[in-house]
Symmetry: C2
Subunit: 219 residues, 2 copies
DNA sequence: GGATGATTGTGAAAAACTTAACGACTATCT
DNA sequence: AGATAGTCGTTAAGTTTTTCACAATCATCC
């Protein structure tokens, strides 16, 4: 129960799940050891950054050797609380919501979507990707106390209303895929992922931040 | 043709599409003027950051007044190249891909998905969200020279192979939704959006970075 | 068992980004 | 017209994040 190791930078924290997945891959492939350089090429993060990130957790590697995959894996499993499952609800079973439900989440993951909610009568009562679809009128009853986080994939007009209900039901984090910037009390964490903005941003970068043409061939 | 105004920080560039959308909203609502404080509450970005961001483009506002919505809108339209449409292809018409196709992209947007590609015979020849679905075997012929960016929503096992074909076909940017970290030549820009990692990161933050409970009620 | 090459962990520097603070200016009210 | 409240643009400070560079250490080979 080590509270107060808050010294891990947020930028590092965001990369941890990425590292975890690739270490898992390596382990499945039977790889015994890995260097920060190899890892860097796989996850596209500078090797010095990787070493720095790892170092916040102590000395995980050995000089002149690299990192032991087995050890790294068990360490990350512990750190990312892979044993303890976080329960999640998904609101809005449209195309995007359905995509989430079909993701094979439990693999390499500490989260489980327990319930999905929608208003469409055809979907209610069915299971999608193994997740039961409930009517949104039952949101409060089902979520109350039991669910930690919510994935919001509803039309943006419904976003704030549903959000308020989620907050009242005791959810502490929301992954918001709607274009609406929802308002929540200070103790609720919201991460926004806005698909349309991501595409626009990519296009802006293409036009205004041209990348170097590199004549060097990678080895 | 102002090349070399590269002085806009990347963090700012990423926020521009967000600003643009909200300014658009305000304009539709018939609002005449807006302050950085109001905008801040709407987009959830600190007001000083907004003023700083805007200032990279010169003096867009007036002291003691705020910003003229009309002017701001026309400025951003120009800056974000909203008049010139960027052609995009989407590869992989699964649930996530379909979600993208149904997005009403042309509204407030300078991008258009011209073609979608898949292998599923039932989908080929149809239109989804107004976008024709083609067989992936025809990728090179259709894309060649005509398409600037691609949205990658295929299974991760296919990601690198498709990527290589896209690069050969002259695409310069890829929005990668697969968990695979694809490898491309230096002059190709890739933005990764990894849904599973986003959820894991949210959960990690919930556990390790509890937010302040604020007794103050917002006005 | 010593020499060689590889690799970590980290101090220090640099770069990138955010926030505070305030002078200068504007609009509006009385 | 003067006072008041509001707001920008920006300087400077603060914070966070990345990167460099190298001593310390380890594995391996002859």
């Amino acid at each position: 129960m080590d509270i107060e190791q808050h010294k891990i930078p947020q930028a590092t924290a965001k990369r941890l799940p990425l590292y975890y997945r690739f270490i898992n891959n390596l382990h499945s492939q039977g790889k015994q050891r890995v260097s920060s350089k190899e890892l860097s090429e796989a996850v596209k993060v500078d090797s010095a950054t990787i070493r720095r990130d790892f170092s916040y957790f102590g000395a995980l590697g050995k000089k002149g050797y690299g990192y032991n995959v087995e050890y790294l894996l068990s360490f990350f499993r512990k750190t990312l609380d892979q044993d303890e499952i976080t329960k999640v609800a998904l609101i809005g079973v449209g195309n995007l919501g359905t995509a989430f439900l079909h993701y094979n989440f439990m693999k390499n993951n500490n989260t489980k979507i327990e319930y999905a909610f929608d208003t469409n009568a055809e979907k209610i009562g069915t299971e999608i990707g193994g997740v039961p679809v409930k009517h949104i009128d039952d949101l409060e009853d089902i979520v109350k106390g039991d669910i930690t986080a919510a994935i919001l994939t509803v039309p943006s007009s419904a976003a704030q209303g549903i959000t308020d209900r989620l907050v009242k039901s005791g959810v502490s984090g929301i992954l918001n895929f709607t274009p609406a910037r929802i308002t929540v009390p200070d103790h609720i964490r919201v991460h926004h992922i806005d698909l349309s903005i991501e595409l626009q941003a990519l296009v802006y970068f293409l036009k205004h931040y041209p990348l170097e043409e590199n004549t060097e061939q990678e080895e």
